[in-house]
């Protein structure tokens, strides 16, 4: 790699860290105020009692659990995708991995808040944590909620490591460029990175191990989240396919989230030279694949229930397909299947804009999918006398919106303090050595844009 292009790369990717415009402050203030509103709303809910939500007697879970599953699903964007891409040595992954991995960490953090937000007595949330209480009572290890605790924490720990390890060389780079306090902070973060072959070798081994280890963890996380539902004898929850169905849905929504995030970064951080249309196209193809897989699951699920004609399940099926939830259901089908299918399978439409539109639809559709898994079933369990329906209340809507703001805020702040594209990996892509890292294919060579 030439000196010049290396410098340009460093300049481009470090620019956001070293220069701050008023727009950044405005954005942070805006997002921050929404997040603050969400926090106040939560405090209000805790103070006034859970009753100010729209939850009611048959429908004990609704928006918050929908958000929980949704955000944990989004978290599959990053670590899982980047691990897979790393393992298959997909060269085009280089500019993508970090912005993907960050999504995982933040989405997990937000998702993991929801089980606490939705508690009737959130001040006692620590009773979910496995420790022997003063009366030697452990949590109940048979409860899927306790499995969630382990799964999410394992995934979060793994994902943070997976994100942070390859950041070390970049921290060293900032350390070397920055001055003052910044230099001190990044020096600490760089953990004494000198770029010695031994260090490179260790980093690479660690990343290979992590990439392998994180995949089953990621798969298990959403499987376990699906177990929150499928372990309960609730019509249309109690399903053997929920594990793979949830994982597929998670990856599906994760890719959509990643595409949207990348498009935003590309536009706002002026990374057009790094995030190319081909990146979007490739992710778009993946999105199409997942859309088809997701649709297959939905079809298989609905067909067996319809054909099996078990009355309690048919009641749920009917209310979603043609009853009061039908508008939401068919919106979901359009968002998750019709739109992505048409945009992604027509090459001419598979542009960045096309990918973003499809991804937005998928995000909406997947949120609806989670809602439609949670609510109609709870409203139509076995005894029709106890059926009910659900309307969200302002608290739930505000808290839901504020988590989207929180995600954006965290992402903005992250890209402010950490190079959002891994500089050294980009450089490595330009360079045949060190040997463990494959060279970029021609079409991904730095600085060239491709249609």
């Amino acid at each position: 790699m030439s000196e010049a292009s290396a410098r340009k790369l460093g300049d481009d990717l470090l620019r956001p860290l070293l220069r701050t415009s008023w727009r950044f402050y405005a954005l942070v203030a805006f997002l921050g105020s929404i997040v603050l509103t969400g926090l106040c709303t939560w405090a209000y809910q805790v103070y006034n009692g859970f009753g100010i939500t729209g939850i009611n007697n048959p429908i004990f879970w609704a928006f918050y659990i929908t958000n929980f599953v949704f955000w944990i699903g989004i978290s599959h964007a990053g670590t899982l995708i980047s691990a897979i891409l790393r393992l298959v040595n997909a060269g085009w992954r280089r500019p993508v991995t970090r912005c993907a991995e960050v999504i995982t960490v933040f989405a997990l953090m937000i998702g993991a808040l929801f089980p606490i937000i939705h508690l009737g007595r959130p001040w006692l949330f620590f009773w979910l944590i496995p420790y022997p209480s003063n009366r030697q009572i452990w949590p109940n290890f048979r409860s899927p909620l306790v499995w969630d605790f382990f799964a999410i924490n394992t995934y979060l720990t793994g994902s943070v490591l997976f994100l942070v390890l390859p950041m070390i060389p970049d921290f060293a780079l900032v350390r070397d460029k920055a001055t003052g306090v910044r230099q001190k902070v990044y020096a600490a973060l760089a953990l004494g990175w000198q770029g010695t072959p031994k260090q490179w070798h260790r980093l690479e081994s660690a990343m290979s191990i992590m990439a392998i280890a994180i995949i089953p963890v990621a798969v298990s996380v959403h499987t376990i989240v699906s177990f929150d539902f499928s372990m309960a004898p609730v019509p249309m929850w109690h399903s053997t396919m929920f594990g793979p169905y949830f994982v597929a849905g998670a990856i599906f929504s994760g890719i959509a989230g990643l595409i949207v995030a990348m498009a935003a970064l590309r536009k706002f951080l002026h990374l057009e030279e790094y995030l190319h249309p081909v990146h979007f196209q490739n992710l778009g193809k993946l999105l199409l694949l997942m859309s088809l897989l997701w649709s297959y699951f939905v079809f298989a699920e609905r067909l067996t229930i319809w054909y099996g004609n078990e009355s309690s399940e048919v009641a749920v099926l009917n209310v979603t397909q043609k009853g009061s939830f039908a508008p939401l259901y068919w919106t979901m089908v359009v968002c998750n299947f019709v739109v992505p299918f048409f945009i992604m399978s027509i090459k001419r439409l598979r542009t960045i804009a096309g990918c973003v539109i499809a991804s937005f639809c998928v995000l909406i559709g997947m949120w609806l999918e989670r809602f439609l898994i949670v609510v109609p079933s709870l409203g139509h369990k076995y005894l029709p006398y106890a059926w009910g329906t659900y309307r969200p209340r302002p608290v739930e809507i505000i808290i839901t919106m504020s988590t989207f703001a929180a995600m954006t805020l965290l992402y903005t702040l992250f890209s402010k303090f950490v190079p959002i594209i891994s500089i050294w990996e980009m450089k490595a892509g330009e360079h045949p050595s060190p040997a463990l890292f494959p060279a970029a294919t021609r079409e991904h060579a730095l600085g060239e844009t491709h249609a």
């Binding site: 009692g49 007697n57 009773w127 109940n140 909620l145 309960a232 006398y385």
Partner: protein
Amino acid sequence: MPHKWGMAVDLDRCTGCGACVTACHAENNIPTVGPAQAARGRAMHWLRVERYWEGDFPDVRLTFRPVMCQHCDAAPCEPVCPTYASHHTDEGLNAQVYNRCIGTRYCANACPYSVRFFDFFNPQWPKPLHLQLNPDVSVREVGVMEKCTFCVQRIRAVEIDAKAEKRELKDGDVKPACVQGCSARALVFGDLNDPESEVSRLSRSPRGSKLLEDVGTLPKVTYLERQTQV
């Protein structure tokens, strides 16, 4: 052998009068939530009398079915509870330990009978309605799950008395409030481990069946079907 408490509901005796519903409120300090909350699906009835219409006028029929916690031997509400607030006792009761409950509401989703009720707010008894509260039953605070306990306080009281008097419990000694209040004698409570008890006898009746038997919850409430004119 420990007791195994169970109930039999004779649907041929039950008239749907609802006395059991109010009796349960009176005994168990169940809050009244008021019209606004009731309209939002927050009314609490540990025991409800389900009614279902069959047919159309004039060949129309109505059936009643009192449904309370079935104290399932394989209770889906128990394993899912992360804090053991919902758990099984030695005497076969599905116990609900309010102080352990953190309000995940998972148990209520898992219960196929939809008999678990959540305290959406702190209960209110404008004075002096608080004087009606039964001191033997704890008042539940906001954020916890509650449900029929088979009037465990009455079971314990009778057990303690019997122990103090050094005698065995007799069939019929324990009467939960709903059983006590039912003038049609549709509800019978007792020890299923005593093959001679009335509840055991009724549970073996050919008219008997369990609610949602195929869900596999092994309920301890037996419903004796309503008969038709011979």
